[in-house]
């Protein structure tokens, strides 16, 4: 019930509403630009939000994340290039629809499905998060470490083409997080005598490097390639969406929303996996599966509902356990910390109003990007195609430097950002997993703290993790996820070219 006063509070604050509207527009545009993701936009804009009040700062970035996920569908449908990984499944039917001069219809289906999926996820988050937080308060250090361990394994092994490279990315993230002073004994670790390294590696420059500068490096390879846009307007009859056309999509939207919400709650899986699972499940249950891939409206509705339904529930592990479920969650940790807000289950005791106001901003943001998208997605598409990437990416290049400097007013951070940018590009080229690297970097501090606290509590050393039933359960979940992933890759490698 806390959400209703929060909604009233947000609606009566014009400045906050202005930030939400701006975020909806920025996110949609950034998401629609092929190559740029909501994570990149959030990482780049993060230092600006240090100068804002906590709620507008969080709401601005949170809504960019939501509308950015939706914006990816515009590029997938119009340019046959997914704006984000999450919208790659939308492309399968979206672009064939655009080729049939039905781009407007496809974008309306994508908008409605995204809004329904996002709303479902957000409502589930609002209804369940306080309950999960109350449960999380009962977890001790051994259980929390087991949750971290499971998160490392899932994040490292489930995303990407290679399990070993995914896990190696996670291990690298842990090692980089260890640079600096040990928070308990103040012992220097991996500093090699450098004073700059004693402060550790900053989250903001690392994020900007991996997600923003890394993308600029990647875009060099696309220089000179013109964007081809399918007709975004065209015949009004082709682009009007009727209830009769959308009605068959609704069961797919409902199912996919729950698939997305469930996958969103699991750390690290993210929207791309949700979208493909929903697409596969939708096609399996479709009355005419042969039309999927040829331009079926249901084929747009299912992945769009799923990838947006991830957004709300992916905040649950972050807000209740302090474990980011996504790269956007990992970035938001930076905002919470900068504003002195301790994340974790106690947040619902200390910052309850702020959390529900953030949820309210999320709900309002969904409505706003839904309205803009329904009536203006084609315009956004035409706007994107006019932005010359050979000018856009140099601008992003320059902005990333000043943004990295702004976070702590330190040029060493800018060097870190450059190194992270090159590493991010190389990781993508070599099939490593930058998202696993960054999320593990964020998780490592909490995991180490709970591990060492658990050992201090234990009379039997490491046995504490197997004698506590809940801790053992999470360890088993982590190992089971790894085994299942290896089995599925083994099956795929029998038919294709996937490496274990």
């Amino acid at each position: 019930m806390d959400i209703f006063p929060a909604l009233l509070g947000v609606l009566s604050d014009p400045l906050l509403l202005g930030w939400v509207v701006l975020a909806a527009i920025v996110g949609m545009i950034v998401g629609a630009i092929p190559g740029l993701t909501a994570s990149a936009a959030i990482a780049m804009l993060l230092p600006l939000t240090f100068y804002m009040e906590p709620l507008p700062a969080l709401a601005f970035l949170y809504v960019i994340g939501k509308s950015g996920r939706y914006g990816g569908s515009i590029a997938a449908i119009l340019f046959n290039t997914p704006g984000t990984a999450a919208s790659a499944a939308t492309q399968l039917d979206g672009y064939p629809l655009a080729r049939q001069d039905k781009a407007g219809k496809a974008m309306k289906v994508a908008t409605l499905s995204s809004v329904i999926g996002d709303f479902t996820g957000e409502i589930l988050l609002i209804a369940g998060v306080a309950w999960i937080a109350a449960l999380a308060l009962k977890l001790g250090p051994p259980e929390l470490f087991a949750v971290y361990f499971a998160a490392f394994i899932v994040i490292g092994s489930v995303i990407g083409k290679s399990v070993t490279r995914g896990l190696a990315s996670a291990a690298l993230g842990v090692l980089v997080a260890m640079i600096g002073l040990d928070p308990i004994s103040s012992t220097e670790r991996f500093t090699f005598g450098s004073f700059d390294l004693t402060n550790g590696i900053g989250l903001v420059p690392l994020m900007i490097g991996i997600f923003v500068l890394g993308e600029v490096f990647a875009q060099i390879e696309q220089r000179g390639q013109p964007s081809e846009m399918a007709s975004g307007g065209g015949d009004a009859n082709h682009n009007r969406l009727t209830w009769r056309e959308y009605k068959p999509c609704l069961p797919h939207v409902a199912r996919s929303s729950f698939i997305g919400a469930f996958i969103g709650m699991l750390p690290g899986l993210g929207s791309a996996i949700a979208a493909f699972v929903a697409y596969g499940e939708g096609k399996r249950r479709a009355t005419s599966p042969e039309q999927w891939g040829q331009g079926a409206l249901e084929g747009v509705a299912a992945p769009e509902a799923a990838n947006n339904a991830v957004s709300g529930p992916s905040m649950a592990p972050l807000l209740t356990l302090g474990i980011p479920g996504s790269t956007i969650g990992a970035i938001l940790i930076g905002v919470f910390l900068i504003h002195g807000i301790q994340i974790g289950p106690t947040m619902f005791l200390t910052s309850r109003d702020l959390i529900y106001a953030l949820f309210a901003c999320g709900l309002i943001g969904i409505v706003i990007y839904g309205l803009i998208g329904y009536f203006g997605a084609a315009f956004v598409g035409r706007f994107i195609v006019r932005i010359p990437t050979r000018v856009l990416y140099p601008v992003i290049f320059l902005t990333s430097f000043v943004a990295a400097y702004t976070s702590r007013g330190n040029l060493f951070d800018v060097y870190v950002m450059v190194a992270a940018g090159f590493a991010g590009w190389a990781m993508r080229k070599l099939d490593f997993n930058p998202a696993a690297f960054v999320i593990s970097f964020v998780l490592a501090g909490g995991a180490e703290e709970t591990f060492r606290q658990a050992l201090l509590l234990s009379d039997n050393g490491l046995m504490i993790f197997v004698t506590r039933p809940l801790a053992l359960l999470f360890l088993v979940i982590g190992c089971a996820a790894l085994m299942m992933r290896l089995r599925s890759l083994k099956k795929q490698s029998g038919a294709g070219t996937v490496t274990p």
């Binding site: 012992t187 000043v402 400097y405 940018g421």
Partner: protein, 143 residues
């Protein structure tokens, strides 16, 4: 192979971390676990796929140019201040992205430092990085 080498290096460095006053390994556990995991995963990679994905070499000169520009740009900021460094870096970045219009490059050299300076160092009030050897801000009195 790179993973194994990084892992070995990190393992050696992990053993260089001092134990705490009670002689416990507390601060070493995680660095050591991460390093050993890296060695193990590197060995699995070596055994499973000796070749790995092939990187296209056609764009490597441009990537190297952008990386070089990035490093020199940060050094130039520390040496000559933000304004001069950005005035040089902006047209070079555009050049790497194949912008050849002289007016556009000249406009970028003038407008980029001015706009970023205005937004970040004036409006947001961030203290600008001053040049060690020379800074235009000293000449124009901070503005």
């Amino acid at each position: 192979m790179a993973l194994v080498l990084i892992g070995i290096g990190a393992t050696v460095a992990s053993f260089g971390i001092s134990p705490d006053q009670a002689g416990r390994w507390g601060a070493r556990y995680f660095p050591l676990a991460g390093s050993l995991a890296l060695i193990l995963l590197g060995l699995i990679e070596l055994r499973a796929a000796p070749g790995g994905p092939v990187m296209e070499r056609r764009h490597l000169p441009a990537i190297a140019a952008l990386l070089g520009l990035s490093v020199v740009y940060v050094w130039a900021i520390s040496a000559l201040g933000y304004l001069i460094a950005t005035a040089v870096a902006a047209p070079l970045a555009l050049w790497i992205f194949r912008v050849r219009a002289p007016i556009g490059l000249a406009a970028a050299a003038v407008l980029s430092p001015a706009l970023y300076h205005l937004i970040f160092f004036k409006l947001l009030g961030v203290f600008p990085p001053l040049g060690r050897y020379f800074d235009v801000l000293d000449v124009i009195g901070g503005y």
